[in-house]
């Protein structure tokens, strides 16, 4: 393979060398940290995704070394490839911050904001985005879109009211599963994700639409209202699976596995897609080989009240005679 041509770009003042043809978003991800633009629709594992939600807008203040004029408008960083000598502003540009605030307001126009009910709350990209960039109030005065809940098969539930039309699930159905049955109906503001005449998506990898959904539009029906994400404990595990890689995250509450998902990286994208057998049918600890607790960012609500690093000293010295006496006393009292 011939050596790839490297181009120099400068994102928020940080220089980086990337292969020609990389998008600005991926170049920023190679640097990492705060300067990575948020993305709601782009998914690195799905070809063709991106360009729909506009949250990753950035300002290109210098087009390239040859043509140093700035780009006239903000560009979607997931769709714009880098040029040699390009200078990009993301969080250093007030214009971008302001535009992103507008985008969040736009995405939330029809969103029901039912986070207290939604199972995605706590790991929802839209929630994070709204918290970081959004305004506290909406200026939208009209009725929000209303849809009935739709069951896609017996394991997946679709809440169209929460959908932001990122099309990720459509790409999953197109690329991961054999043939797609669900897609977008209608156009523009009226578009909705649907299975045509409620036809079940019946494929071994259809459960991945749950993982790719950035909001709570596609949720696991077996986990529906079981528990809040932040009360469960994520654990990395794997098993021998003949259909997929078998590497998953188990979400424990006490002894029970409440939910199985793919392993997500820092950008909320699964590392490898998993099959429906792993996701829905293997919910016992004996099915899995546990690797260890999952690393959760300490800014995430999921890490709250999990005292991993803190090991408080025992308050009372263990005394077997005292324990016996307490048990006896409890029995005596409860008989009363």
């Amino acid at each position: 393979m011939p050596e790839e041509q490297l181009v120099k770009v400068n994102i928020d003042g940080i220089p980086v060398e990337v292969a020609a043809g990389t998008t600005i978003l991926n170049a920023a991800r190679q640097i990492g940290g705060d300067i990575v633009p948020p993305a709601m629709c782009y998914y690195s594992k799905l070809s063709g995704s991106g360009g729909k939600c506009r949250t990753c807008l950035v300002k290109v203040s210098k087009g390239s070394e040859k043509d140093p004029r700035p780009m006239p408008k903000l560009v979607a960083s997931c769709r714009t490839t880098v040029m040699d000598g390009m200078e990009v502003q993301n969080i250093t540009s007030a214009e971008v911050i302001e535009a992103r605030k507008g985008i969040v307001e736009m995405l939330l126009l029809n969103h029901p904001l039912d986070c207290p009910i939604c199972d995605q709350a706590g790991e929802c990209s839209l929630q994070d985005l709204g918290y970081e960039h959004g305004a506290a109030k909406t200026r939208y005065e009209f009725e929000r879109r209303q849809f009935e809940r739709i069951d896609i098969g017996d394991k997946i539930q679709l809440h169209m009211t929460r959908c932001i039309l990122c099309y990720r699930c459509v790409f999953v159905a197109d690329q991961i599963t054999d043939h797609r049955i669900h897609g977008i109906l209608n156009r523009g503001d009226h578009s909705e994700i649907s299975t045509y005449i409620h036809q079940a998506v019946d494929n071994d990898f259809s459960g991945n639409v749950i993982d790719v959904c950035p909001v709570g539009a596609l949720t696991d029906k077996t986990f529906r209202f079981k528990n809040r994400v932040w009360f469960t404990k994520p654990v990395e595990a794997h098993r021998d699976c003949d259909k997929c890689c078998g590497k998953v995250t188990l979400w424990y509450k006490g002894e029970d596995v409440l939910r199985v998902t793919g392993r997500k990286d820092v950008y909320g994208e699964v590392e490898e897609f998993i099959c429906n057998t792993c996701r829905f049918d293997q919910k016992k600890t004996v099915d899995w080989i546990i690797e260890g607790p999952r690393k959760v960012a300490n800014t995430s609500v999921i890490s709250s009240n999990h005292y991993d690093s803190l090991k408080p000293l025992p308050v009372i010295k263990k005394n077997l005679a005292l324990q016996e006496a307490n048990k006896e006393q409890l029995e005596r009292y409860t008989r009363l």
Partner: protein, 165 residues
């Protein structure tokens, strides 16, 4: 050792004089103080029968509120349990079935909602965290009881009485 502060006082222990040795005068002066208090306004109250007036923002026993149509407001979002520094609150959510729309406001509700009153420190953070204005610490002092298990208050004790009763 030499005193550092010069505040040291050397006490003299003198033998008791005749009046002190007589015993009765000391008893009488002590009793007179006691008698004086019989005619004063008592500082204590007889608690269960008489109650002190609480301040308006007093935080007492929790209550789970209903909305104007008598539906339970709580949707079991778990934010109260998350904010609780004493980890006193637990809940189990359930899905509202068709026909129960007059009981619960949202499609999810708390099937089990328990507060351990022995753990609770009445800080009011649950009230502050609640997005549905469902929980308020507007009740009384938690009554005493004999068994620890009786301090775990379930929905039977926490939820407000229905409207038309």
């Amino acid at each position: 050792m030499e005193s550092l502060t010069n505040k040291k006082k050397v006490l003299e222990a003198k033998p008791l004089n005749f009046w002190e040795r007589a015993y009765l005068p000391a008893i009488l002066s002590g009793l007179s103080i006691t008698m004086k208090h019989f005619f004063r306004k008592p500082v204590t109250i007889k608690y269960p029968e008489v109650k002190r007036e609480f301040s308006e923002n007093y935080r007492g026993l929790h209550s789970l509120k209903r909305d104007e149509n008598g539906k339970e407001r709580c949707t079991a979002c778990g934010l109260c349990a998350l904010s609780c520094p004493a980890e006193a609150i637990t809940m189990i959510a359930a899905e509202r079935q068709p026909g129960e729309e007059n009981l619960y406001r949202e499609e999810k509700y708390a099937a089990v909602y328990e507060i351990n009153m022995l753990r609770c420190i009445f800080c009011g953070l649950c009230e502050e965290a609640c997005p549905k204005e469902a929980i308020y610490l507007d009740g009384d002092i938690v009554p005493t009881d004999f068994l620890r298990k009786d301090f775990i208050y379930g929905k039977d004790k926490l939820v407000e009485a229905p409207l038309n009763q």
